[in-house]
Amino acid sequence: MALLDSITHRRTVKPHRPWPRVDVGANGWTQAIDLLTQGRCTLLGLWGDAPMVHMALLASDFRDIAVVSYACEDGSYPSVAARHPPAGKLERAMRDLHGLDAVDSPDNRTWLDLGFWSVRTPLGKRGKAAKPKPYQFLPVEGEGLHQIPVGPVHAGIIEPGHFRFTCNGEHVVRLEQRLGYVHKGIEGLMQGASLDKAAKLAARTSGDSTVAYSFAFAQAVETATQTAVPPRATYLRALMAELERLANHFGDIGAICNDASFAIMLAQCGILRERTLRAAEACFGHRLMMDAIMPGGVAHDLTADGIATLHALLTEVRRVFPRLVELYDSTTSLQDRTVTTGIVKPDYVRQWGTGGYVGRASGRGFDARRLYAPYDSLSFDVPVREDGDVNARIWIRIREVEQSLTLIEQIVGALPAGEIQTPIKTIAKSCEGMALAEAFRGDVLVWLRLGAEGNVERCHLRDASWFQWPLLETAIEGNIVADFPLCNKSFNCSYSGHDI
């Protein structure tokens, strides 16, 4: 049964592609929340478009997607988080950015607005910022507890964010995150931007997932304007996406082991990562492949030399990687740190709709690649485990590396001939598009509305991290402080993608 069959709606908004968007009243909004609480669907996104609130839903069998929209007549809407906690941070962000208020929200604290902006609700009715109230962390009570504040500036070469640990001896009793430090106002800059500028902004939402964001943004524009992209461009996009996945998974596998003081894996995986980035540069002109995908196609064609480079990369990875996997698997002192550390409960992953290796290591097999071309004509497995610990998240990455290698082989083998770009179709009136792309850490969502002139009116970007960060707070509970870097790296959530 389709999701919208259970939701009373007034009208279907057109044109919104490829999935339907409907206007609902209080009744339909409540029914949508009912579906979430019953586990019949997960929250795919919740964002403001003042005076509207949009909620994207993904059916639990991953076969249906729909967007329901509620008009906030007095600047407020019934809170989703009051009954479905995964919406909590999204509602707080929406209040900060759009000034839209969730009625009966369980948490009225700010989230992205840390009190340093000169404007209030920058994406809604702008006002002068008021003097910020001191941020209250959640209370923790008990004898012998102490707090460890960490960040926003951390000890490594990583992004900024604040972690507030409450500990009993070595054991973490509660972790509370405070993020928002790298909020750049990307969605504000998107408003009115040309497609060219907007694509560049999307590509810089989270640098490690630049290909995935460009892919999703381009797909959203193309589906909105009904522009058909040449098949060769679609294949090249997937090739870039798999190279990006390989590079990041190599980096992560090495870095997780390094956080257990097993530096040789970092050194060895770092070599594979560097070789992957060099292959990407040889094929597409940029190590991270930034701006290599744009609406209408791709910027660089793959040459015969590029294909030879890719074959050499595959040969080298297949020679080296299995030995590193064996090294990981046979080092008991390392396994002692990763096995049973930082367990994420399968129930949480299902409730939160958590994507990527965090979800797949705890039994949720969603992979957005099942939804778009060219993956429908490629063969690959989505590895899933149930154990949900740091070790499981490493193994999911290992299996995904193997899948990416076969995907690259298939793509190069079946690469269609022809053009790599097509102009975006001009549109007569405003239209909306939405797309998902599977980044290395999970699904990213891009939703946009183009104006009749072809500029972006509103664009929302939702990183996979939104539904992963909160589960890191649960994973560390009862673990020792020294295992936090290990847990954190096994998640490797994006700060920039989350803070937008």
Binding site: L114, F116, W117, S118, V119, P122, P152, V153, A155, G156, I157, I158, E159, P160, G180, Y181, V182, H183, K184, G185, I186, G188, L189, K197, K200, L201, R204, T205, S206, G207, D208, T210, G251, I264, A267, Q268, G270, I271, R273, E274, L277, E281, R287, L288, M290, V320, R323, E326, L327, S330, T331, S494, Y495, S496
Partner: protein, 170 residues
Amino acid sequence: MRRSLLDSLHGPLTEPAPAPDAAGLAELAKAVNRAARARLGRSLSIRQVDAGSCNGCELEIHALNNAFYDLERLGLRFVASPRHADVLMVTGPVTKNMREALQRTYHATPDPKWVVAVGACAADGSIFAGSYAVEGGVKDVVPVDLHIPGCPPNPRQLLAGLLALLQKVA
């Protein structure tokens, strides 16, 4: 067992370092202090601060530690605290939310110190300039001695910039 797993996986990988960046040398010519040079010798400790980057620059800064670039052979190393650092390597357009943290990190770094602004955003905010949430380039918040351009700069560009710094100050 472990030995046989990794034996002869790779030959030597470390590559010759690039020449110091000429533009960087010119920018630094102003900032050199002879006394500081004597004190530091040929080594610099670097503290990296992400003041709002998309994390692309961080990926390439990380790469400086891999076997191909091997930053430490040149006397450069990353340290965990600004209190241990000679150089702050700052990325990103400085967001309003990070302005204070960056200033506090700068003041926590002992003199003599240098600030290297890495990437297009760190120069002037780049594509994020003009946002309600962005302060601008790093120089709008703390004094900058050297800019390394690029989006993101690749590891060779980063090395060339750092070598210019090493040549001038250490």
